[in-house]
Symmetry: C2
Amino acid sequence: MTERPNRQILLVERPRGKLEESQFKLIDSTIGDPGPGELLVRTVLLSIDPANRAWMQGRTYREQLGAGEVMAGGALCEVVAANGAPIAPGSIVQCEPGWQEYAVVPANRILPVAVRGALSHHMSVLGITGLTAYHGMLDVGRPKKGETVVVSAAAGATGSVAGQIARIIGARVVGVTGSDDKNRLIERDLSFDAAVNHRSDKLREDLAAACPNGIDVYFDNVGGRVLEAVLPLMRTHGRIVCCGAVSQYDSATPAPGPAGVPGQLIVKRLRMEGFLVSDYIGEWAEAQGQLAAWVAAGELAVLEDIVEGLESAPRALIGILAGDNVGKRMVRVAPDPT
Amino acid sequence: MTERPNRQILLVERPRGKLEESQFKLIDSTIGDPGPGELLVRTVLLSIDPANRAWMQGRTYREQLGAGEVMAGGALCEVVAANGAPIAPGSIVQCEPGWQEYAVVPANRILPVAVRGALSHHMSVLGITGLTAYHGMLDVGRPKKGETVVVSAAAGATGSVAGQIARIIGARVVGVTGSDDKNRLIERDLSFDAAVNHRSDKLREDLAAACPNGIDVYFDNVGGRVLEAVLPLMRTHGRIVCCGAVSQYDSATPAPGPAGVPGQLIVKRLRMEGFLVSDYIGEWAEAQGQLAAWVAAGELAVLEDIVEGLESAPRALIGILAGDNVGKRMVRVAPDPT
């Protein structure tokens, strides 16, 4: 029995209001060998996502996070040892070790990663957020050439890919972000057709001006007042892809829903549909092939936002909830072994 | 040039809050001959629908109603004279004469009705509300045998048919109405499996008790707090059919939307979709054939609520907004000519 030194970040209490650094604690601990059917993995890149905060609010597609637990989170990890599982040490896997340097995970809860190109791409454009953008836009939103597509959190990990996919298939793409700097970036580097700042006090008018023909597809990462502003601009038979509701995650009390539900849905025969990327797992390999091809062809720019050190994770999460990231945020916990 | 005496009900002012009888006025007037391409029709059965009130609030799928106009509304009418249109006097047509005894309507804005059985059935089960129930339930909601379907305004014109269709195809059907009397009626006469009173102060618990397996399809006629109570009970991949939002029509200020939008849609991958029956016009004949067959077989009970006299129309509309009807409400303006 080997005991290795480990470092872990615990969620010491559930936030009542906004998430704060004091609700986390970094501790030194040790970790033992994997049991039968388990792997010992080393965390390389830890994924930081708004959903991490939503897991603290209550039951979602997973159990609510509890006080005193190692903070949950997905990561790209290197296999250190496998107990009875046919996977070689040194392999890269996608799994959920939580916020710690080493973890023991069940072998049936990992996905092997065939690394091609930069490892970080397997967390951004080829990872969960890239796949979320791909399936959400193409399978749920289904924009057609010439249609107007609006994407919120458009400089974020999912939004930046979702908007570019819509542009690649020939839609007019309008991004919504929370800063003029981000808007310049998505117009210049990602070739969005227009951009709107959601902090504007005339958001609805700005959106209307950017979408003179109305909106056919809204890829919603934020919910709240952006969703409310979009609803009256939707065109008949428009589609709203419910991907995230980041505006509602960092709070104890959920806001009322957007005015116009269900009225606008009826009058304009809108379809508003939620999805989880896990529903499409059988199609991920094909999606990754297409995404990688777009990247290789220079059609899809990859935005990444890598923060150094496990101890930075709480600040990185709190920041992403306030929108301080550009592209896919991750925390580097160990050097890239590839 | 013949001038016939006519009686009309005007909307004399748009309601600011709740609709009142004083906002209507019955006047005597005259009506002339139809021009080229027009028909003179006599109103037989006038359709009273919550949507009549929604038309006063603003632009919907039609222009907002204005003060001083003849109140708008659909009807089954008898053709009195046709000027250049190939339709025989005495024919029954579905059209929109408004609230008046006689009207001149464009020949290209009528639908001929091949009357079979009771004329009133062409306004209830075979009319717009029956077709709305049919297409909304089967084409938008798509319940499967064994699934749980909840229908609000379940004793109303659309809800009573929608719920029975779901029951016919083998779903477990739970109705929501605003009275215990209506609940007894839908359970006893329409064979709903269970019924919930939305005036209960523990609506959510009552719904949960009536739907122990959760809700697969919610056919929503009301919006508001019933929709809000249903959302947390929806099952993964559930569908919400946005048919109406009656709870929001009789008011000047729209309420906030239901909490849980878009959060519940994402977590449970729900589809929430609005529709208008007019989108399915090419399939109406087939739908009417099926509905008539179910009625003939005794599988589909028809609930009608016929009020006598044009002058009763304002009170009939105000009443339907408060839920005082059972089944399809209509106003008999002239004796049945068939």
